[in-house]
């Protein structure tokens, strides 16, 4: 059989005919641009892709992609995506959600999709605020955050998306940021290549209701000291001078300076994203500004059984054992008896 070469698609082939309605300057534009740029590289036809979202600014995403799309209801995208993927495992499924959609109203579905290791990619746009409802604090807003609904400051402690994902034993966990587009593209490629749930937290600036929430990690004079770009197998080094590192002190991380007191690279913590045990990844997910540089990149990437694959295999196994089910067989099962005419 002659194989038909896939047409070489470009970013604009993934643009839908719909006018984009995010606020000018929103971080979502950068994410959309990177997704459109990376999709053609995957070699997957547009019609085999489904973008599923919930409710919120980020969840308008599917309307702007020339793929199949489902803008569902608040928090439920992982549940809808479960049905889509199980019904047709050949589809490549992306879930687009936000901090409110994914961690507040839809927190339950998010953790359950992750713990099942459904083969979907979950992009969680974290802007630490409610945008579409116009500026209330979100489950990732910091304690004390003053918003429309918390004029005296929020008394909620925030959730940390990566810690939640790792707590649910996610097989792929990464973080990136809207302002570092190349890194974001890398993370999207890594997520797409991963089989099983790939969870990416994307720091995303809401320039209307929470402008500058992540400035510390993007401003030129600061970012090298406030972020730690992870590389598998490499020591954890950061800082403008590339002279700071993370060392383990007992069970806790600490910041050290290379050369000070004879500290060498070998004394530092080396990143291993493939550890079966998620403790290192969890520790990294708890390193937060301003006490620590915040890790960017892949925290965890391990192979685990996939939900949709296992479900499909059970159907195959049942058929192999019992034969393809026939209507007459199921009707006539059990205790039957005949009544003569």
């Amino acid at each position: 059989m002659a194989t038909e070469a896939l047409p070489q698609l470009k970013a604009k082939d993934f643009a839908s005919d719909q006018e984009i309605r995010w606020c000018p300057g929103c971080g979502d534009y950068a994410i959309l641009a990177q997704v459109k740029k990376v999709m053609p590289e995957l070699g997957i036809p547009r019609e085999k892709m489904v973008f599923v979202s919930g409710i919120g600014c980020s969840s308008r995403f599917p309307y702007y992609m020339n793929t199949y799309g489902f803008h569902t209801i608040h928090g439920r995208a992982p549940a809808v995506a479960t049905g889509v993927k199980v019904a047709n495992p050949e589809l490549t499924v992306f879930v687009v959600t936000g901090d409110g959609d994914g961690l507040s109203i839809g927190g339950n579905h998010l953790i359950h999709a992750i713990r099942r290791n459904l083969d979907v990619n979950i992009l969680l746009f974290n802007n630490r605020i409610y945008g579409l409802t116009k500026g209330q604090y979100s489950p990732t807003s910091e304690h004390g955050k003053k918003t429309k609904s918390t004029p005296m400051g929020s008394v909620d402690n925030p959730l940390h998306p990566l810690s939640i994902a790792i707590g649910a034993e996610a097989s792929f966990v990464a973080r990136t940021i809207d302002r570092n587009v190349q890194h974001m593209a890398d993370m999207l490629r890594r997520a797409a290549a991963h089989k099983g749930t790939a969870f990416i937290e994307i720091y995303q600036n809401c320039n209307i209701f929470n402008d500058g929430a992540f400035l510390y990690s993007t401003e030129k004079d600061q970012k090298d000291d406030t972020t730690l770009y992870l590389e598998h197998g490499k020591p954890m080094i950061f800082g403008k001078e590339r002279n700071k590192g993370i060392r383990l002190n007992g069970l806790n991380p600490e910041i050290v300076t290379l050369g000070e007191g004879g500290i060498k690279e070998d004394d530092l913590l080396f990143h291993d994203e493939q550890l079966a045990e998620p403790s290192l990844a969890y520790m990294l997910s708890r390193m937060r500004y301003p006490e620590f540089p915040e890790p960017m990149g892949v925290l965890r990437c391990v192979d685990q059984p996939k939900f949709d694959e296992e479900m499909t295999n059970q159907v195959k196994e049942a058929k192999a054992k019992r034969g393809e089910g026939k209507i007459a067989d199921i009707l006539n099962e059990g205790d039957t008896w005949d009544v003569a005419g």
């Binding site: 047409p7 070489q8 698609l9 470009k10 970013a11 604009k12 082939d13 839908s16 005919d17 719909q18 036809p45 547009r46 019609e47 085999k48 489904v50 599917p62 309307y63 992609m65 020339n66 199949y68 799309g69 489902f70 803008h71 569902t72 209801i73 608040h74 439920r76 992982p78 549940a79 809808v80 479960t82 049905g83 889509v84 199980v86 019904a87 047709n88 050949e90 589809l91 339950n108 579905h109 359950h112 479900m311 159907v315 049942a318 058929k319 019992r322 034969g323 089910g325 209507i327 007459a328 199921i330 009707l331 006539n332 099962e333 059990g334 205790d335 039957t336 008896w337 005949d338 009544v339």
Partner: protein, 626 residues
């Protein structure tokens, strides 16, 4: 020793087995039913168990009962009055004896009527001795002692021996009603084959019970119930939940679709999940979701991607699914939503029956949000109704509420097995791929095909079921209001009004694709008795009894509740009076009054129990005489 003399013929008999939840009453009842069905009687059963899995032993809260009605004529209910009650302890006696007819038989395990047992059941005096049971034929059997004695050579421990005593009762009742034991023995071998000591013990005790009947002097005669004259064919005994699950599987096969069943365990619907999970070789995928919302949402996602998406629950679960059902209405995807109704509101009466979710099925969503609603009327009828729900959902691209209830879900009756070869396929169409044509201007030099119109409708107003994976049909759907034809988001006032009207009309048009309403009895007359759902058997029996008294009354049982059959308004207007019988406070009556501007009387009951034929008969006669 006097042997029982002679055999008396009975047309129908109602037996209730009652005991502690741990006494095995459901098993005893089921096995007796099975034997009777195989023997050729018509049967109808009603299990009645507590919500608690194991309430403290011997208490009133822990009583579990199983009623079986069997006979030589067609039966439509599990029986109003109990002819023979088997009560395994004082609590079972106390909670059930009022349902026994005067002169009926009460068989008790006298070994369980000690002081403590009586106290647990709040008896001040021993009812076996104080004369309070004088209007019944009381038969005291030392079932515990006799069971232990029969098993004196068994290697089982005393506790395990004691657990066999339900087979003693089964043996005794089998003797009393002339049932052979071999079917039960076969079942014992199958069930306990791996544990021969248990199998042997149960068989020994079964025979001991049978022999006890023969040799004791309590019974003047045994009873005989002849085979029923059912229409010829092959039959099987089936419960409503089993029939529903098989209906879903068969509908999937008839449509060439995989079945996706997303569900969260809830009484009394969980058995549907259990049954479906055993039939993966029929391309059935069962998903035990993290909650009710995920259950319905995953089913919607599965339908979007091309499976037959079904979710099942009971009333409280349906409440949680409400928002997602709006999404299914808005996105016009096929979906079947099974609601095995139970007593409400809130957690209500989880194991008891009620029909109080009709309003919820019709209206329980935000906005103008019409859904198709259909209801099954007996255990076996759940099969046909489930297939029909799936057919309507897929052929009309709509979510369908399928209502059953705890009574028919757990009740059993003989099912005339349909002929697989005669079942009509469910024709489902999906638009095919559209290739990009050559040209320029779109990145790679190809021209994209024209934008796919996801909301372009046919003459039934049905939009295309375009499956992800199909080239050239990429489209986006969602819960925001749609522009007609394109399916794009649209907030324009006229479009919104147009779309609301269109969604309603699409549901209304389904009336052209369902059968007309029929009645049992005269086409016009003094009284029409209207019902829906699981009350069908009781209503039919009551109406038949009144018809035999020469009165002008007919029975109309509505399967299609939204849309109604196209002739329903005419049917209702052909009778001088209309009586609507429901296990709620008048929900269908309210709808019929509003829709057809007819007066309608009601007979309503909300006790978590089905109608008695006698109470319906009384109400019918009362209306006819006024």
């Amino acid at each position: 020793m006097t042997m029982p003399q002679g055999v008396q013929e009975r047309t129908t008999v109602t037996i209730r087995f009652a005991g502690d939840s741990g006494d095995g009453m459901q098993l005893t009842g089921t096995q007796f039913t099975r034997t009777s069905a195989i023997f050729g009687n018509d049967i109808s059963t009603f299990p009645d168990f507590p919500a608690e899995i194991r309430a403290p032993a011997g208490t009133l809260a822990g009583v579990s009962g199983f009623q079986v009605h069997f006979g030589s004529e067609e039966l439509h209910t599990p029986g109003d009055e109990v002819d023979t009650l088997v009560a395994f302890n004082p609590a079972a006696l106390k909670t059930n004896v009022d349902d026994v007819r005067d002169g009926g038989m009460v068989i008790v395990n006298e070994d369980s009527f000690g002081t403590t047992d009586l106290k647990k059941a709040h008896y001040d005096a021993n009812p076996l001795e104080d004369g309070s049971l004088d209007k019944f034929r009381l038969i005291k059997v030392p079932a515990t002692k006799l069971t232990q004695e029969a098993l004196k050579d068994s290697p089982l421990g005393n506790r395990d021996k004691d657990r066999c005593k339900n087979f003693f009762a089964l043996g005794l009742i089998s003797w009393l009603y002339g049932r052979p034991l071999h079917a039960v023995e076969e079942w014992i071998d199958q069930k306990f084959g791996k544990n021969p000591d248990v199998a042997n013990a149960n068989r020994t005790v079964l025979h001991a019970g049978h022999a006890y009947g023969e040799t004791c002097e309590f019974f003047e005669h045994t009873y005989h119930v002849s085979k029923a004259k059912l229409p010829p064919g092959r039959y099987r005994r089936i419960s409503g939940n089993e029939a529903t699950a098989i209906g879903f599987i068969v509908a999937g096969k008839l449509a060439g679709k995989d079945v996706f069943y997303g569900s969260y365990p809830i009484t009394p619907a969980s058995d549907v999940l259990h049954v479906l999970s055993r039939y993966k070789h029929f391309d059935v995928k069962t998903f035990q979701a993290e909650d009710e919302i995920a259950a319905v949402c995953s089913s919607i996602g599965a339908s979007f991607a091309g499976d037959l998406g079904i979710t099942g629950t009971s009333g409280p679960g349906l409440a949680l699914k409400g928002e997602a059902l709006g999404l299914a209405v808005m996105t016009e995807l096929p979906l079947v939503v099974l609601n095995v109704q139970r007593g409400g509101p809130s957690t209500g009466l989880p194991t008891k029956t009620e029909q109080a979710d009709l309003f919820q099925a019709m209206y329980g969503r935000n906005g103008e949000c019409p859904m198709v609603v259909i209801a099954a009327n007996s255990p076996a009828d759940c099969f046909d109704t489930a297939v029909e729900a799936c057919r309507i959902a897929m052929q009309h691209m709509v979510p369908v509420n399928l209502l059953t209830d705890g009574y028919i879900a757990n009740g059993q009756e003989p099912w005339a097995i349909p002929d697989a070869d005669k079942m009509a396929p469910i024709v489902v169409k999906h638009p095919g791929p559209v290739k990009a044509s050559g040209g320029n201007g779109n990145g790679n030099g190809d021209v994209d095909p024209p934008l796919f119109k996801a909301y372009l409708r046919d003459d039934r107003l049905v939009r295309p079921w375009a499956l992800p994976g199909t080239e050239g049909l990429q489209h986006r759907i969602g819960g925001l209001e749609k522009a007609d034809v394109t399916g794009n988001v649209n907030y324009e006032p006229e479009n919104h009004e147009h779309m609301i009207a269109t969604r309603q009309k699409k549901v209304d048009l389904i009336a052209q694709h369902i059968p007309e309403q029929t009645v049992m009895g005269p086409d016009e007359g003094d009284l029409l008795v209207v019902g829906w759902g699981g009350t069908a058997g009781a209503l039919r029996t009551a109406v038949e009894r009144v018809q035999k008294q020469g009165k002008s009354v007919a029975h109309c049982h509505i399967r299609y509740l939204n849309p109604f059959p196209r002739n329903l308004g005419d049917v209702l207007k052909r009778y001088k009076k209309v009586l609507v019988a429901e296990l709620n406070c008048g929900q269908l009556r309210f709808i019929l009054r509003g829709k057809f501007l007819i007066d309608a009387y009601g007979v309503n009951k909300v006790q978590g129990k089905p109608f008695l034929v006698s109470e319906l008969e009384n109400k019918i006669n009362e209306l006819l005489s006024n």
